[in-house]
């Protein structure tokens, strides 16, 4: 039995939830998994694996801006990020000194790697996408990523191999020899499972993401849900708000639900309206959803790229939040085919273990 340290980044719940099937697979094979995380990511994994050992391991704040100034603000935050990553790296040394570990898995935590213990990086972004005018920064990010990837033994990309089934498009394309030598395309990894339940919900609207964009989208959606025929649920993604669901005609607005309830609602929904975060998109793929309206968070270049990419591929329709016309946009989603058939998480985690993880653990 080997001992694995799994450490997801706490920028939203996406990193933690996609690690759930990986952690589950490791434990199913009899390995001990210690989870090192913080904030909501730690809470979710604690809930999922209550008997697993946990370490409170702080990371760094999200450098997202409140509007379209993501790139300049991100550039300004780089020295603080660097200091935080160096601190994170130093903390890992002390964690590894206290116990014996056979493998470290870092989900997008840039400082979580070790020269003493084999280290694996999990990311769907081997390459960053920026608006065209920032192309020099995109070029500069290539050597920076190369340096980062060199610190790891392997890189798990939760996406299909580059080609017609690639969910992350150019984001998961290896740009350097270092990335090409280390990359393992695992296919989608989602903590959400298909459930045997009826599809009795016309719409599920998931409002999420950093403030103030979350509140702005909430205001836009709540003012316009009356335009849609049918019933639905709006998840406000606001754990700090009122805990009581509110009824608005045929709609129910729920401030916050646990991940298991959200998974059930996603299973029941005929049409999902949500942000174009990569983990949510993997959930849509896992559940075989064919009808969804994607609304990228303004200023988040990754979400903007994925929305554009899916529209180009004819998979899902997307619209900017300030141009939303729910009735018309939902009608347009019906002309899109959804993701093509692809291997699901259960098959992917099995292959991931057999072809990659077992080599370090058995």
């Amino acid at each position: 039995m080997a001992h694995v340290l799994v450490s997801p980044l706490n920028w939203g719940l996406g990193h933690a939830t996609r690690d759930i099937p990986v952690i589950r697979t490791l434990r199913d094979h009899g390995h001990e998994v210690t989870i090192a995380a913080c904030g909501n990511a730690l809470s979710v994994l604690r809930q999922e694996f209550p008997d697993a050992p946990f370490i409170e391991y702080p990371d760094y704040p999200v450098p997202f801006s409140s509007g379209h100034l993501f790139v300049p603000k991100f550039c300004a935050s780089l020295p603080f990020m660097l200091t935080a990553v160096a601190r994170e790296h130093a903390t890992l040394d002390s964690i590894l000194a206290k116990d014996q570990y056979d493998l470290v898995i870092s989900d997008n935590r840039l400082g979580v790697f070790s020269s003493r213990v084999p280290s694996i990086f999990v990311s769907h972004q081997l390459h960053y996408h920026l608006p065209l005018l920032y192309w020099p920064a995109e070029i500069l990010a290539i050597p920076a990523n190369r340096y980062l990837h060199e610190q790891y033994d392997r890189i798990i990309v939760p996406d299909n191999s580059p080609g017609p089934l690639s969910l992350a498009g150019k984001l998961s394309r290896p740009q350097t020899d270092v990335a090409r030598d280390r990359v393992f395309f695992s296919g989608i990894l989602s903590g959400t499972r298909q459930m045997a339940c009826s599809r009795d919900l016309d719409y599920l609207i998931i409002i999420s993401g950093p403030e103030p964009q979350r509140s702005i989208l909430e205001k836009i959606i709540l003012a316009r849900i009356g335009e849609l025929d049918g019933s639905g649920v709006v998840l406000l993604g606001s754990p700090q708000g009122s805990k009581t669901p509110a009824r608005r005609g045929d709609w129910i607005c729920i401030p916050y639900v646990p991940t298991e309830v959200k998974a059930e609602l996603m299973n029941r929904a005929k049409c999902v309206i949500c942000r174009s975060g990569y983990t949510t998109l993997m959930e849509l793929a896992e559940l075989g959803k064919t009808q969804a309206l994607l609304i990228p968070t303004p200023g988040q270049t990754e979400q903007e790229y994925l929305s554009w990419y899916y529209r180009q591929k004819g998979w899902f329709y997307s619209e900017d939040q300030d141009k939303l016309d729910l009735a018309e946009d939902v009608a347009r989603t019906k002309k899109y085919a959804g993701f093509p058939a692809m291997p699901r998480t259960a098959d992917n985690t099995k292959r991931l273990y057999d072809e990659l993880l077992a080599g370090y653990l058995e």
């Binding site: 550039c75 780089l78 020295p79 660097l82 200091t83 990553v85 160096a86 790296h89 130093a90 400082g111 390459h127 065209l132 005018l133 192309w135 995109e138 070029i139 500069l140 290539i142 920076a144 340096y147 610190q151 150019k170 394309r173």
Partner: protein, 72 residues
């Protein structure tokens, strides 16, 4: 000192120096435009403006080419 910190600091210094150089260049050009307007040197002004337009077009074309060739 941590290798990560050293490499990162060097990269950031180079990065910010590049940004400072670009800002300096933009300010110099804007100063040139302002002086040309004040002195009424419209031939020089036209030259600068044509240069700016040309540089912007080339900059965008390079970006588009990088995208098309999948370098970025």
């Amino acid at each position: 000192m941590d290798e990560l910190l050293v490499s990162g600091t060097v990269a950031l210094i180079v990065f910010y120096a590049g940004i400072a150089l670009v800002i300096y260049g933009v300010l110099r050009v804007l100063t040139g435009v302002f002086e040309a307007v004040v002195t009424g040197n419209y031939l020089f002004l036209s030259g600068i403006l044509a240069g700016i337009v040309g540089a912007v077009i080339i900059y965008i074309l390079i970006g588009l080419w990088l995208r098309r060739t999948e370098i970025i």
